[in-house]
């Protein structure tokens, strides 16, 4: 079986198995499925890195063309999804030992995992639409699992946004189908964006994907949904799910209508800049560390949208920078959220102020948060630094210096809001008898993932080279 099918089939099989088993067998089955999926994802990346783009094109029933293709972008996103998925699965297995999870957690999270892989590998718009729907429904169901009324409301708002975005995306697919007679990305005619129906379809799909990412000011659903979701769900949502629509969006923009219009690219850049400032300022203000990290996600997503105006001006490095940033952020944010989940459980409450003394009780989790924070800020030589560095270089190359100012200011703000958490963990706090075990596998999971996020910056060349496979901007693949 081809590797790109395996990366979808394995988590799907895992989801089916975890429906059938119960009790302690569920996390064992989920972890096993996660581990073999991660191995298949890694093998796919090695294959794409060595042999170039690999794909499958099938004429489905009624002559509908369905395409799966693994280029550098898809392979890198699949590996990131698998890495985050595997670490979160390990965290969930340990977390549910002390606090039994919902019986639907493992099937839903593995279904989400398979849908994410299928979306990253989708080479046609209709498969992408179906996967966006599955991701929306599985993601929202995970948010509301066993939640209270507030969580239910937040999950419903999230689901309604996903529903509206998926339906809008389908309308866009319909208009493109009407104009082009195909939904295969590689077969879309070059002049599609110049026709009224084609332009309308692409614009509607773009708007739908911006709501799904979400980009400021369409982020209204994210902070509540991500912060109120269970501790074993938030890392997947913040690290990977928000990147899924971004991956489809940049495929649409740079593969189907290369470059877009200059005005539209600058609008995306401006909205990205506003996201960085808005998200960071809110992260400085809020009381709960999970909500702080959710606003941080809004801000960090903004950096990815600085790329279109710079690529439109000829700086191809901005592409690598934005995607590298997306991957580095995914790993670091998942590590930070796992660390925060451990710290909050060791505290008397769920606010930043309640974290006093947790550094002494949970030193590894505090260290993990700090290491992940270095990458989120973008300090060298972390993974986060490399993404921002590519964006900085591109801003100089294109003469768009204002992005440099924004990246520097955004990084300082990131350091400021993350320091709120780190500083408070070292503040004096209540003294407990050792009511919680000092050795906790979840801390090790958080620290290992944080170190992976950091180490990504030590050998960036492999990932940057992989990202260029099949990229039309550089004539690769």
């Amino acid at each position: 079986m081809p590797l790109l099918i395996l990366t979808i089939a394995l988590p799907l099989a895992g989801a089916a198995v975890t429906v059938l088993v119960r009790g302690r067998s569920q996390p064992v089955a989920g972890l096993t499925a996660g581990a073999v999926t991660a191995l298949a994802a890694l093998a796919l990346a090695v294959q794409v890195g060595g042999a170039g783009v690999t794909g499958l094109r099938a004429a489905g029933p009624a002559g509908l063309q369905l395409v799966l293709a693994a280029d550098g972008l898809a392979a890198a996103m699949v590996v990131m999804t698998s890495a985050v998925g595997l670490f979160v699965a390990a965290f969930a297995a340990a977390h549910h030992r002390g606090e039994p999870g919902h019986v639907a957690y493992w099937p839903l999270s593995l279904l989400l995992w398979a849908s994410l892989h299928a979306l990253f590998l989708a080479g046609d718009l209709f498969t992408a639409y179906l996967m966006l729907e599955l991701i929306g429904i599985a993601g929202a169901a995970l948010v509301v699992l066993g939640g209270d009324a507030r969580t239910m409301l937040a999950g419903t708002r999230y689901f309604f946004a996903e529903f509206a975005a998926s339906t809008s995306f389908l309308l866009g697919v319909a208009l493109v189908w009407r104009e082009a007679g195909t939904v295969v990305l590689a077969d879309l005619p070059a002049g599609l964006a110049a026709t009224p129906a084609g332009a309308a379809g692409l614009a509607i799909m773009t708007a739908a994907l911006l709501l799904k990412v979400p980009l400021f000011p369409l982020h209204f659903w994210l902070p509540a949904a991500h912060s109120l979701a269970p501790a074993t769900v938030s890392p997947i949502l913040s690290a990977v799910v928000v990147k899924s629509a971004f991956a489809v969006l940049i495929r649409l923009w740079f593969f189907a209508m290369p470059g877009g219009t200059p005005a539209a690219t600058h609008l995306l850049g401006a909205l990205g800049a506003l996201a960085v400032i808005w998200g960071s300022v809110n992260a400085l203000r809020v009381a709960q560390p999970k909500l702080l990290l959710a606003h941080s996600t809004v801000a960090q997503l903004g950096y990815m949208f600085l790329m279109p105006p710079m690529v439109a001006a000829g700086a191809v490095g901005a592409w690598s920078g934005a995607v590298f940033h997306a991957i580095a952020h995914g790993l670091a944010k998942a590590a930070a959220l796992i660390a925060v989940a451990v710290l909050v459980r060791a505290a008397p409450g769920d606010t930043v102020a309640d974290l006093g003394g947790t550094a002494a009780r949970r030193p590894l989790a505090t260290f993990a948060f700090g290491i992940a924070g270095l990458s989120l800020v973008g300090l060298p030589p972390s993974g986060g630094f490399v993404g921002k560095w590519y964006l900085l270089v591109a801003s100089f190359q294109t003469g768009q210096w204002w992005w440099t100012v924004l990246i520097v200011v955004g990084s300082l703000l990131t350091a400021a809001y993350l320091m709120r958490v780190v500083k408070q963990t070292f503040a004096p706090g209540p003294v407990y008898a050792p009511a919680v075990p000092m050795r906790d596998a979840r801390e090790a999971v958080a620290l290992t993932l944080a170190l992976v996020a950091f180490a990504l910056g030590l050998r960036p060349a492999e990932l940057v080279t992989l990202l260029e496979v099949g990229l039309p901007l550089v004539g690769g693949g």
Binding site: T156, F163, A164, S168, A174
Partner: protein, 94 residues
Amino acid sequence: VTTLVLAVGVTLFAAGLGAAFLGNRLDGRIAGLSAMAAGALATLVAADPASPATWLMAVTGGATLVGLVVFALSLRRWITGESGEEPTLDDWTE
């Protein structure tokens, strides 16, 4: 007829979008989202009704959209609970 279906589809979608984002009640929002889905499907069918691929996409897309509506109704039932009371607009603000 195709043009008429296309016009109806786009209009239904636009009206549903308005209801989904401006509505104050869960029922209204779900109705709006359902109208958006119906509008998008009508537009898809009108795009190329002679092609079997169009109908395959419409049937598959329609089935998944029905799934979304069912899930939305389940969420509504969980939120309103036994009391049947709906959250107000204030509860929907961040």
